[in-house]
Symmetry: C2
DNA sequence: AAGATGCAGGGAAGCGCTTACCAGAGGGCG
DNA sequence: CGCCCTCTGGTAAGCGCTTCCCTGCATCTT
């Protein structure tokens, strides 16, 4: 069957108006919301015509005519990563509850690409951009990103950052430091003394905050762990696996606790432990961060810090819609979740 | 700091042309790709002006003027589910490699909502729609969906379905039946005799195919399992957990193998087994489907069927771009992955 | 009863862009 | 040297829609 047989361009408002025997203005007013009232009979005729022609308004044209869009641009580092997909889920749900269109770009954890994506997104003249960051401590990149975002705001757009505070835009920040700190205090109190942090990439801010929070927490508990060190690696499962391997290859006493800065890395670390014939939890306690849904049933259950990821997404959209006068910062609390991977805590 | 201080609308092509002292047409031709050649000096002036003004073309306006967009609409059931997020990842990567804009909608596994999303998407006049389905065996819904999609194609759009064959559109189908069949044959040969299928929702086509493939595979192995039954439940972790519970509550001999129609359900089932004091793998073998990345390190390792999910996404975009004359069907192969959760297989 | 007021429809301008078409310049050719 | 072709810049007509503004009519006011 040839597919182009019945090709026929979509009905326009003009078509509807003609069909209904009214003016373009009237058709527009009845179909696409206006403060103006239109006569019930006309209204009915327009509605019927629209239905008959299968009219669907052309959003692009509306955007051009109105001078604003209902689009929200989302940028995430990696949609495949449950951390991002949960936040993105929240954003998408919230956007289409607000009748907004969500456009998505994936930076692949490449800050350069992130900057380019912002610029590409701006071409769509979205009403807002939500950047779910893997922000990085690099002054030059940060300044390029900031300047792109500033330009966008100067044009009337609205930027919301999810994840990292410190930039002059509306921000949803998760309590990384506090969460990691609380976890550390409890672990320290429970008696773990040779803790190691699987810290992710050195320049990644999320990693840094969690590492820092954890170390400070240990100190605050009055049990500064002299051997407390941070091993850097990729922010992924493989990163966790590989870093754990390096740790095991080292001489000296084996750690009694490994804190990975995210759950995915923790799972990688657990796999590496098993490959070395060690039982995670029993031989080496493991803790993670994020409380990723998909990972809640790993065995032994992973002690972690829960973040309201989805809520972060929805809150971001709220901020976008209710556009405050000055940049605001919403902090979302973290909560320690104790499971079997840190037996001393039970 | 008030944010609106320096508010200034984005530069238009008109601004650029004026700044460069050339006509609109020339500016358009140099900036936004055209077959027409423009004088090097003019070109340079336009480029400089554009740079100076921070000009970013207005995609909406281009779309209106050109009568076509570079947008691709994506509809998935649940971006939080790793199955969908991996496919979506493939789609997004491929779209922006092609310079297309990806717009995303989430149906929440509600077929009604899916139909509405298609209709909403059409308002954006995307060049294509990729529907990553949880298609369902309901004639009325299917026909409404089909008719929406048909209308869209009649308008010159292009539809690609990922997941379920059988509708008159380009389709990427995973080898559910063959994959489940191959898995079943191996398990049957390995000696499992009291197999049960955790089958997901009765009306979900993916569930059906996998269940059917598995049962047929068992029969084909010459070991028709008389007790082989299918227990229905939600397609989620909780569905797996709950169905496993029902199974355990039943009288009679305990199954020696549970095949869940996806990994997430399998993990739920494993959790339920543990809660009942049973050790997955040892006491009851477990197998899943999808080989979700995040779940590759669960313990015991989950025997499953690997699907090239990301590739499915990229292939979908390829189909979209190279728009064939007649609907084509691309089948993507499944591959059995044996791990520790089915010890008899090792 | 006559002007004032309110109300809803329609005409048309305009959003930012593309592109068909026109016009002028330059070059090649017989 | 005139003709025609080619080449490139500009003009202006749209694309599908919104919305300002005008108009005619019904209603109100005194």
């Amino acid at each position: 069957m040839a597919r182009e047989d019945t090709r026929r361009p979509p009905a326009t408002l003009h078509d509807v108006a003609r069909e209904a025997g009214v003016s373009l203005a009237t058709a527009s007013r009845t179909l696409n919301g206006s403060t103006r009232k239109v006569n019930d009979e006309y209204r009915a005729r327009v509605l019927t015509a629209a239905e008959a022609l299968g009219y669907v308004p052309n959003l692009q044209a509306q955007a051009v005519a109105r001078g604003r869009t209902t689009t929200v641009g989302i940028i995430v580092a990696d949609i495949t990563d449950p951390y991002f997909s949960q936040i993105a889920g929240g954003i998408i749900t919230a956007t289409d509850a607000e009748g907004l269109v969500a456009t998505i770009g994936v930076s692949g954890r490449d800050p350069e690409r992130e900057v380019r994506l912002v610029s590409a997104l701006r071409a769509q003249r979205p009403s807002g951009i939500v950047l779910v960051g893997s922000r990085v401590a690099d002054a030059e990149l940060t300044s390029r990103l900031t300047s792109q975002l500033r330009d966008f705001e100067a044009e009337g757009g609205h930027v919301v950052l999810v994840s990292q505070a410190g930039l002059p835009f509306d921000t949803i920040a998760f309590d990384n430091i506090e969460g990691a700190g609380a976890l550390a205090r409890r672990l320290a109190d429970a008696g773990y003394r040779r803790a190691v942090v699987l810290a992710g990439p050195e320049e990644l801010l999320t990693s840094r905050e969690r590492t820092q929070g954890f170390i400070e927490g240990y100190a605050a508990a009055g049990h500064p762990s002299p051997s407390l060190e941070a091993v850097h690696s990729a922010f992924t499962r493989d990163g966790g696996y590989e870093a754990m391997g390096r740790l095991l290859d080292q001489d000296g006493e084996r750690p009694d606790l490994v804190f990975a800065v995210n759950d995915v890395m923790a799972v990688g670390a657990m796999a590496r432990l098993r490959d070395a014939g060690l039982e995670p939890g029993r031989d080496v306690a493991v803790a993670g961060f994020d409380d990723i849904e998909t990972l809640r049933d790993v065995s032994p259950g992973l002690t972690t810090v829960r973040l309201p990821l989805e809520q972060g997404g929805t809150t971001a959209v709220e901020l976008l819609v209710r556009r405050a006068a000055a940049p605001s910062l919403v902090r979302l609390p973290a909560e320690v979740v104790v499971r079997a991977s840190t037996p001393a805590l039970r």
